[in-house]
């Protein structure tokens, strides 16, 4: 299917996963991402796949752990409170070096929070998401097309680096409908000699395990894992720049916030303000270099977020605090309007660096 079809973001994720060869999905109902489960429930039995509604988020992520151990593509999806429940499993997946795809269609928090869009799980997603030293590859789609494309990309990266890739979307991305082109990707083959599929009595047993009781050995495993992370930081950073060539004030935003920011930037340009956007697509690895370079050109940054200011910390680190970084935010399920972002630009714009 290569013609454009109109789809919800959640459905685009589900269809893209199937196109990417995922035949196992485990999940638990939670708004605003349940369309993914519903789509899988309908499709999987017809293509020889397995959709199973788990008794809990905890069970779902551990079912993922089981299939991942056998080397097959597998995923789960949830929304913020459910991702907290999956944190245990995410840590075990990392400790056992298993590939998996996890989708978080974020809603407002903390606690039970609300069911409207949010980006307040940024810290949770990018700084680990469970106990112990580990990372997930965090992909932030900003359109329904990207919901699909990054799902396909996420499966590949997860297998390439034997770790969890997380799609960090929000309720808007999940619920909005847009035209999307879906095509089955060519699937890269990675070594799966570590998988548990039965020894067939012709090889030594494999063990999927995150336990390591000898501190020297556990230390080695951690260092080795972070060597792999270093390669990801070098090779897998993705971002979009919008009107940054001559920008004097830089907006940083991802997901739905980036779409709002583009509107504000267009309006600002009409008023003679040279605003531009850096939109991180990978939130981890974070596009440090582009922010570092921008810090030499622009007079300030504005981080537009649906949180109390989480990505803003990474912008400060990446730009080495060379320029002020301001926050423009709404939370609790609210989304900043283009007018609000424009106001913020005007309030902080000092008239250019020259």
């Amino acid at each position: 299917m290569s013609e454009k079809v109109l789809m919800k973001g959640n459905e685009a994720i589900a269809e893209a996963a199937i196109l990417a060869g995922c035949r196992h999905y485990f999940g638990y109902p939670i708004t605003p991402q349940t369309e993914i489960a519903a789509y899988m429930a309908k499709k999987m039995p017809k293509i020889g796949g397995c959709f199973l509604q788990a008794e809990s988020e905890v069970a779902a992520i551990n079912m993922v752990y089981g299939v991942a151990g056998t080397g097959k593509r597998v995923m789960t999806s949830s929304s913020s409170p459910g991702i907290s429940l999956k944190a245990e499993g995410l840590s075990y997946l990392a400790g056992s070096d298993l590939p998996s795809l996890v989708v978080n269609v974020q809603r407002g928090g903390p606690g039970l929070g609300g069911i409207q869009p949010s980006q307040s799980d940024y810290f949770q997603a990018t700084k680990g998401g469970g106990h112990g030293d580990f990372k997930m590859i965090v992909l932030a789609p900003s359109s329904v097309q990207e919901m699909a494309d990054l799902t396909i990309k996420g499966f590949d990266l997860a297998e390439k680096y034997r770790m969890t890739a997380m799609i960090l979307a929000d309720g808007t991305m999940g619920q909005m409908m847009e035209p999307v082109t879906l095509e089955a990707p060519s699937v890269n083959e990675y070594d799966k000699s570590w998988a548990v599929t039965g020894t067939k009595c012709d090889r030594k047993k494999n063990i999927i395990n995150s336990l390591s009781l000898v501190p020297e050995e556990l230390e080695k495993l951690n260092f080795a894992r972070y060597e792999r992370y270093k390669a990801i930081e070098e090779n897998e950073v993705m971002y979009e720049e919008y009107m940054m060539e001559d920008a004097e004030i830089c907006i940083a935003a991802f997901g739905i916030a980036a779409r709002v920011a583009k509107n504000a930037i267009n309006a600002a340009r009409k008023e003679g303000i040279k605003a531009g956007l850096i939109r991180p697509i990978t939130l981890w690895p974070f596009p440090n270099e582009v922010f570092k370079k921008a810090a030499d050109k622009v007079e300030s940054f504005i981080s537009v977020e649906l949180s109390m200011g989480q990505m803003i910390e990474d912008i400060r680190l990446a730009s080495e605090c060379k320029k002020p970084v301001y926050l423009c935010n709404r939370v609790g399920g609210m989304i900043p309007s283009p007018e609000m972002v424009l106001e913020s630009i005007k309030a902080h714009y000092k008239g250019g660096t020259k």
């Binding site: 069970a59 551990n62 752990y65 548990v196 020894t199 047993k205 063990i207």
Partner: protein, 251 residues
């Protein structure tokens, strides 16, 4: 001629279990079963968190170490990955299965998940040094019930086999013990049947094995075996609690 050998499915390494602990016997029964059914090459075992956390070192088949209590969910994934070619068992203690992992246990049974669970009930948390378990007997002294398990304060033990047998999904539930030769032989029969059921796609099987913990019970191995007979078995009666196959034949 009867030759007494180590089963092929049991690795030739020393087990870390305490003197008198019955984990060794139960490991052996599982390994003998895998050998006799000729399924070593397609079996994937799931180790728990608890005393048998290192079980992945002792079986020669592919093994997975699960998070505490999550073995039935992990086993579900392993099984569903390739239902025709994977034989999947979990090996879990009472804290793992009946406390922190109760939800995973109940729902795997309710789904009639075609897996085999070996549930070792010795009425105590062994690895962490002898705390009260969900199966600790009323009045039992442990590190966290130092005055004896007070049922007014912390309730009653969970009878897992009785409880799971109420679920339509559960296929075969039997409680056995390994405190004497006769019981060990019965335990072997039950474990073998639980694996055979899976091969025959008969669904969820769980064998509860009443076991010992001389170290944390504060007893000699001999005394621990007596305690099983005198205290454990009266509270946890042995026998078949559910056998859907036999029940349907009887009807």
């Amino acid at each position: 001629m009867v030759v007494f050998d180590k089963p092929k499915s049991l690795a030739d390494v020393p087990l870390h279990y305490c003197p008198g602990c019955t984990h060794g016997i139960i490991h052996r029964l599982v390994a003998e079963t895998i050998d006799e059914l000729g399924i070593e090459g397609k079996t994937i075992g799931v180790a728990p968190v608890g005393c048998s956390v290192l079980a992945y070192n002792y079986f020669t088949c592919d093994m997975v170490e699960a998070a505490h209590g999550r073995a039935p969910a992990v086993a579900t994934g392993l099984k569903r990955s390739d239902p025709d070619n994977h034989i999947v068992f979990t090996y879990q203690g009472d804290g793992d299965l009946a406390s922190i992992g109760m939800a995973e246990t109940v729902h795997a049974a309710a789904r009639n998940e075609n897996i085999t669970i070996i549930f070792v009930n010795n009425a105590i948390y062994g690895m962490t040094g002898g705390q009260m378990a969900p199966t600790s007997l009323p009045g039992q002294v442990t590190q966290t019930s130092p005055y004896g398990r007070d049922t007014n304060h912390c309730g009653f033990p969970v009878k897992v086999s009785e409880m799971l047998s109420q679920l339509d999904g559960a296929g075969y539930i039997e409680r056995v013990a390994v405190n004497n030769v006769k019981n060990v032989r019965n335990a072997k029969k039950a474990i073998k049947k639980a694996f055979q059921n899976q091969i025959d796609k008969k669904g969820f099987s769980l064998i509860e094995v009443v076991s010992t913990c001389p170290t944390n019970w504060g007893m000699t191995p001999e005394k621990a075996l007596e305690w099983v007979e005198e205290k454990m078995i009266p509270y946890y009666p042995l026998g078949v609690y559910k056998d859907r196959d036999a029940d349907s034949k009887a009807e």
